[in-house]
Symmetry: C2
Subunit: 381 residues, 2 copies
Amino acid sequence: MTQRIREFLRTRRDDGPCVVVDLDVVETNYHAFARALPDTRVFYAVKANPAPEILRLLARLGSSFDCASVAEIEMALAAGATADRISFGNTIKKERDIVRALELGVRLIAVDCQAEVEKIARARDAADADGVRVFCRILCDGAGAEWPLSRKFGCVPEMATDVLEHAHRLGLTAYGVSFHVGSQQGNVGAWDQALASSATIFAECRERGISLSMVNLGGGFPTKYLKQVPGVESYGDAIFRSLSKHFGNRLPETIIEPGRGMVGNAGIIEAEVVLVSKKSEDDAVRWVYLDIGKFGGLAETMDEAIRYPIRTERDGDSMEPCVLAGPTCDSADVLYEKVPYLLPVSLSIGDKVLIEGTGAYTTTYSAVAFNGFPPLRSYVI
Amino acid sequence: MTQRIREFLRTRRDDGPCVVVDLDVVETNYHAFARALPDTRVFYAVKANPAPEILRLLARLGSSFDCASVAEIEMALAAGATADRISFGNTIKKERDIVRALELGVRLIAVDCQAEVEKIARARDAADADGVRVFCRILCDGAGAEWPLSRKFGCVPEMATDVLEHAHRLGLTAYGVSFHVGSQQGNVGAWDQALASSATIFAECRERGISLSMVNLGGGFPTKYLKQVPGVESYGDAIFRSLSKHFGNRLPETIIEPGRGMVGNAGIIEAEVVLVSKKSEDDAVRWVYLDIGKFGGLAETMDEAIRYPIRTERDGDSMEPCVLAGPTCDSADVLYEKVPYLLPVSLSIGDKVLIEGTGAYTTTYSAVAFNGFPPLRSYVI
């Protein structure tokens, strides 16, 4: 909670839950990344929070941008980024969207299979584009991450060399390798295994006459929720050690794609207690209902994955475990139940609560109008 | 798939995934409910699909409306429903929203605890409203339902009598009992136990000098996805038998709140195959990526709960199990993986697919702009 956010909330007209993002915190985070990984370019993961004010700040600070769609590319350009500072990082793209990205000047594109490489080659011809660089995403086990990973993105490292060779054969620049160690990754050593695989792919490509340039280290840098997390400099140190270990003195160009780590702790949601009740007279656990839930911006509570810190005006009073739920008529709109949440016994209907660490993956995740509730309001200050 | 939807899709300009709802199917469904439960008023659950065309049609046919928020109440009024045909069915409401609902003329309101009753009594005073009727929702085990229920709504039946007595004491009309047997309920007998509890509450209230009038039978009526479901007349028969068994010849007024059962099978989503790939050369299961996923309208695939039928132009070709996933850069955006989905081996990038039974719980569930993708487009014809 920063002084600026406190001041803003004190004076805003109450019209339902909102998230407030403090740009000063984003700026501090950007500099921390730049310092911790001095030879690594920062590509902000726009999907974490595409607010124009955030994109403009980061563009001005020199950040590059990892974009998931043409709309995100257009937002990054509108914020002042040049096309050479944009990566089209989604491995799942329509061919017409690739054409559009190339027309907009983007030249760095993710793939994880040969079919996607072929789309890019055709799009390159359609857009008459030169110097298109592709990088291949590899699977990574994600152990140590809090937000569930799946096998959705990436191929096994053994296949990546073939994918990159296919790109090379089609006249694209086989540029490098990417991976993602899992979002909210608490283990600073999580990059090591993927970097070993990357070095092997670099060596295999070299044997086939292809010189790769880049390793995209992805995101995964955590923000502080309830548990303490290592500082970004610890991640920088560990990654640098792994890079040296696996690449020796032929260090590749590197980029990172922080999203949550860049904006998570810059934002706070203010919400209201709508109801406190029990299901029976002798219920051991109270139910606390907020005016925000899974469909109003807190989608990452799915499976109780992300556990946000919650502050109330009654902190310091005695605490008891509560089930925490959202306001919609959907029985799945429950935030924490398997592990009930400790809240003050005195917490009452109408009380405001502050949900910390909510600068990332909240605004654009909101449902458009579920149950007639509007999407989460967002203020960037 | 109706002829009207087929014709519409044939001529529409392709601009991403969309849902198309056929009003003729909604009308047929309404009449089926009215016929199957002739003495029961139908309150359409607006949250299932609040498209104005659907609300206008149902208002014209004589339907009443179950609303989850002030916004939904305003939509029902705008569609031509009078306030006496509206129920404020959410048990979790801000006091100022109750005031607003009363000002709009709504007089039928759900509760599940004493605190909510007190809000309504205060709101009644603030809005200077007469004749406010409240009904108390009770917990119900939901066995046989496909969409996961939780204990979020309702209190144990033993507490409901106290809640209703509290309403009576505060000058509200203690009007009845409601419950919900779980969405997509496949067991026509699921209402029996809750009706037994309801009859007990009626008797207990009578002993305390309070005469209840209504049982709100809730929703739960299924739409056909992959498995066959019983017809609505089977539900009507079973419910009538249970009502007679538990209430004898003092049958209460009854209402139902179909949402999925009213619009689910009236809608079809047209989507596109964006990518088909394997994670390794010897992968047994292909990954099929669509341009719609969990955040674009298919939220009910959460935990693979609702399994939609999918039609392709290649049906009839040999089939193989596939993992089905959405287009966003979120590893949680996977529709079916635990139980892979059988799709034609020949299914290719760029193919259109039709996702059936998607008229309910798709449009308003869409994320506002996750990954820069727009919310699901909706056409009602």
